[in-house]
Subunit: 214 residues, 3 copies
């Protein structure tokens, strides 16, 4: 009889792939700004690990994942460095990396919800923790690249993280079966993100041309 593999194992494997993918796209962004090799590796590591780090610092959840397991840090640094060598290839695989980035967004959001759930915060904060885990790395990347964070300007990115967290929290409040629900959450989140990319769904913008004050 076929059974689902344990959800945590699958998520764990996917999160390794997602860490590498996020580090590699950040490394390309670093290359567009002519950073040196050390800067490329740092930007990769900060982008890939930044979301979980911000979440843990805000929740006071120590030690941080990469402090406890430096292998997380190693994989992001290696992925960023490898990107220097195979930049053309990474760039040609745009679509693949967009999918991997979407996987990362959803996996990190779920992982963030799980950490928050384990330390017994209220459901709204579980969702916020998921959103921070999925999104904060990209915000740090954009700040370090001296851009207004892309997250604030375009695409359903944060919304996907919030939707993922919402689905997760529903299962958690209703005490549904863990593994199955995790798969459901993953499927919903990933589909939402991929559809948003495919059909260029966008959040409406708030464009305000008022008196210049701040």
């Amino acid at each position: 009889m076929w059974t689902l593999p344990p959800g945590d194992t699958v998520l764990h494997l996917l999160s390794w792939v997602a860490l590498a993918a996020q580090s590699m796209t950040a490394a390309l962004a670093a290359g567009r700004r002519s950073m040196d090799w050390v800067g490329v590796c740092m930007l990769g590591a900060i982008t890939a690990l930044g979301g979980g780090t911000v979440r843990d610092v805000l929740l006071g959840h120590y030690p941080l994942a990469w402090v406890e397991r430096p292998s997380y840090l190693a994989v992001t640094v290696i992925a960023a460095f490898a990107t220097i060598l195979i930049a053309r290839l990474v760039d040609r695989l745009t679509t693949a990396f967009l999918v991997l980035d979407a996987v990362g967004l959803v996996v990190f959001s779920i992982a963030g919800c799980e950490v928050a759930w384990q330390i017994n915060v209220s459901p709204p904060i579980v969702i916020v923790a998921g959103m921070i885990t999925g999104c904060a790395g990209g915000v740090l990347r954009d700040i370090l690249c001296n851009d207004v964070p892309l997250l604030f300007r375009a695409e359903l990115y944060a919304s996907v993280a919030v939707a993922t967290g919402l689905v997760y929290a529903i299962g958690f409040v209703l005490k549904l079966d863990g593994d199955l629900w995790t798969f459901m959450t993953f499927a919903v989140g990933l589909s939402f993100r991929l559809l948003a990319l495919r059909y260029r769904w966008n959040m409406p913008k708030f464009v305000y041309v008022g008196s210049e004050r701040s």
Copy 2:
């Protein structure tokens, strides 16, 4: 006979108003940069809650206020979102919002001092904690909007926070009556800020045109 209401209750009510006001002015700043709706809400929440969050992270004071009471987070998100609908109105009420922002600066500074005092740090750090609480949210807003923080460039803003903290710390060292002194501190801080706005008081600038090195 008339008695003062408990200082903490008044401060608490004022802080709700100030949270909403700071979130709304941040939302206008987001609109000037054409952020999308999610970005507007995030920028509002980060601006309004950022000061207390930075203080608590630096002092290791967990759980954060908005983690413990998600209603804080809710009020800032709702205020930011409402701003999208009533932007013209908010902008026309510039003066009212400047006053509310001043109230927020002083109330947050006092709240920051109180938190620091409760965990028994030294008086200079009590003042610094007040300043961080009052000012750091605006610094985060400016970083996310890709500006040099306004705080570093103009107006008596940080100075008001420092003065507020100084008055607070004097009462604390002299063991003066809590509620009465809190009102005094609030009155001094608010007057200072409003006078600074009215008469355009400015800190002197340090303008240096030297060899370009960093």
Copy 3:
């Protein structure tokens, strides 16, 4: 007979000098952006104390050094303020300040390794903690000045911190004599940095001109 003075005492004295020097060069950067006096002092303090602060927040190592000993904060604020008065002099002493900055980089890196070692993290994280302590202050300065961090773009700065941490970690793993090895580490790190400055050693850059995507 001549004996080495205790390494910690020497490092401690050097770190005071380095704190002041880093605050002063940050103050000059503030002056180039016409910040006001309060902004100058803040930028100085954040630059000089930021590295240790980021490290402690990431490691959950409380209380922060400057919270426990506000004199650290005082020295950076005073140094920044003094720079306003003697800017021309500071600028003319460029070489001296580059050396002091190099001393600071190495001393802070060693101090960061020591803190990490005391809380029993693994050797790779000891090195990372040293690097963060040496470099993060400058990154914060550049973010607040609205620049892409210099660290990511040029010079062997982070590399010196990593090399210093590596030498430190070797001694730590081999259980070599503390004081003597600390001096060795300091000598290696400082020489590396000064040679890099003198001969304009640079990390190779990753320049990527691809399709604009992020």
